[in-house]
């Protein structure tokens, strides 16, 4: 499950991870939560990945992995709600996992952090942490292969963006893959 704030880019957020999983031969579902449409409203996106067909069509109440794209959400929302005790929390922040745990009194799960906004600024030139976090996600979970993800990003982004933006995104994902820190 991924927490972020509503932007006009919701379409792109939706399905990269699910799409890449499907192209790797897995079964997956990717779906957003359609709630308030105002800019900046907290919004969730969901992904399920499995080796066998996924038949369930309910919302995700107990996410094994929670990604937080906007760290200011931690002040407003309990992002670990429903997450099992051994869940994984990946946060876009300049703070370390230990600092996050202490600052927000998070009791469960394993925390990982990566400064995705800075990486995005350095590589893409814009503060868009969305694709960057995918690098951290696959490093931490290992459910997908880095090369397949990068290939998919190039394929998808080349249709809409120039070479510089595509390469920036590739570098950003690689960097997040390397820089994500656990406890």
């Amino acid at each position: 499950m991924a927490w972020s704030r509503r932007t006009r880019r919701k379409k792109q957020q939706r399905g990269f991870f699910a799409e890449t999983a499907i192209e790797e031969g897995k079964f997956a579902q990717g779906f957003p939560e359609y709630g308030p449409e105002r800019m900046g409203a907290p919004v969730k996106g969901f992904t399920r990945i499995d080796d066998k067909p996924i038949r369930i069509h309910s919302g995700i109440e107990n996410p094994q992995v929670v990604i937080v794209l906007d760290p200011t959400l931690l002040e407003a929302i309990d992002v670990t709600e429903g997450m099992p005790d051994d869940g994984i929390l990946i946060i876009n922040t300049e703070l370390s996992p230990k600092e996050i745990r202490e600052k927000f009194g998070i009791k469960k799960g394993k925390i990982y952090t990566v400064n995705a906004t800075k990486i995005a600024l350095d590589t893409i030139g814009k503060p868009i942490p969305n694709t960057v976090m995918l690098g951290a996600l696959i490093k931490v979970t290992g459910v997908l292969d880095l090369d397949t993800l990068l290939k998919n990003i190039v394929k998808k982004f080349s249709r809409r963006f120039n070479e510089k933006v595509v390469e920036g995104n590739v570098q950003a994902i690689k960097k997040a893959f390397e820089e994500v820190k656990g406890e």
């Binding site: 399905g15 990717g30 359609y34 038949r55």
Partner: protein, 408 residues
Amino acid sequence: MKVKALTGNEAVAEAMRQINPDVVAAYPITPQTELMHKFTEFVADGLVDTEMILVESEHSALSATVGASAAGARAMTATSSQGLALMWEILYIAAGLRLPIVMAVINRALSAPINIHGDHSDTMGARDSGWIQIFSENSQEAYDNTIIAVRIAEHPEILLPVMVTMDGFIISHTMERVEVLDDEVVKSFIGEYNPKYKLLDVKNPVTFGPLDLQDYYFEHKRAQAEAMENAYKLIREIDEEYYKISGRKYAYVEPYEIDDAETVLISLGSTAGTIKDVVDELRLRGMKVGALKIRVYRPFPRDEVKEYLSNASVVGVMDRSIAFGSVCGPVCLDVKAVLQGTKMANLPVVNYIYGLGGRDISPKDIEKIFFELEKVKITGEVPNLPRYVGVRGEEDYVGEKKGFKIKN
């Protein structure tokens, strides 16, 4: 065959690209809008030969589709909710004129209060309009059903319009794995459309929809009912042909773990998938539970429902809409009607109304339903009014605190 990551909307748009209809007329409405975005992209890119007509309302969208179909074109459209409601009078005209239109309906709640999310209120209102209705569990089925629907609609012994439905957002906006057939395979499966009667065939003039009073109206309506009967006989053959080209076997209903099931839960659409997971879970705990998904809702699969319920001791029927003022929801009414007059007339049937306005239905909710049905089986006490699942204030409907006491 290709594996693609598609939402339900994109999957149907992809099917429409391969069908390459002569005419598509549409008006945007959430959650159908994305489907037509995608399809009009295909039109703009020159990937289809379709004459795309953008109209000012759904009433016009279906009217234009009716006109095109009567003229002899293969015509399609898509809508949701209020859009379907606005099409109402034209729905009956499309069916009465026996026009083989295929329409995707992305199920959404009806106003008021306004709600953009998925439930079956929209198509349930159209269940008696003379359209064939096929429900899809997931994106794959939405894709497959759309292609199959063309053959059903255009079969010379059927000639009826078909609605292919999917649950709004739950399927329409969820990206899933979809196996897409090759363009050529779809093209040869649906074949050329050569209607026997068409308005533009000026050498053989015909009239569509003239005045038809006490003298012949009834005969025409009787023939329309017979066409629905023919559909009930013939859909099987078309599904079988589709199996040969796709490897995916469809039928009027899909039983799941039903052979030795004492408790059977009936549903339509996306919830059927979630129920299968719950059935597996409860079977591991030793409960003899099973499920029956209704795929073809109109014509109602009366023989299949009877057959698959013949070993059941108790039945639950899930309705994602309310038939206000009726004794139960529409699907439950049909199931009860089918059992009436058979040796299963006394089979306990409990109606569960759920998921209105897109309210999530979780595996826990479904477990709770199965547990209540177990209690009904043991006590023989059958609630005679619908249960409302997942609604505030009625969380305790199973009557857990009162042991086996069934609350009415």
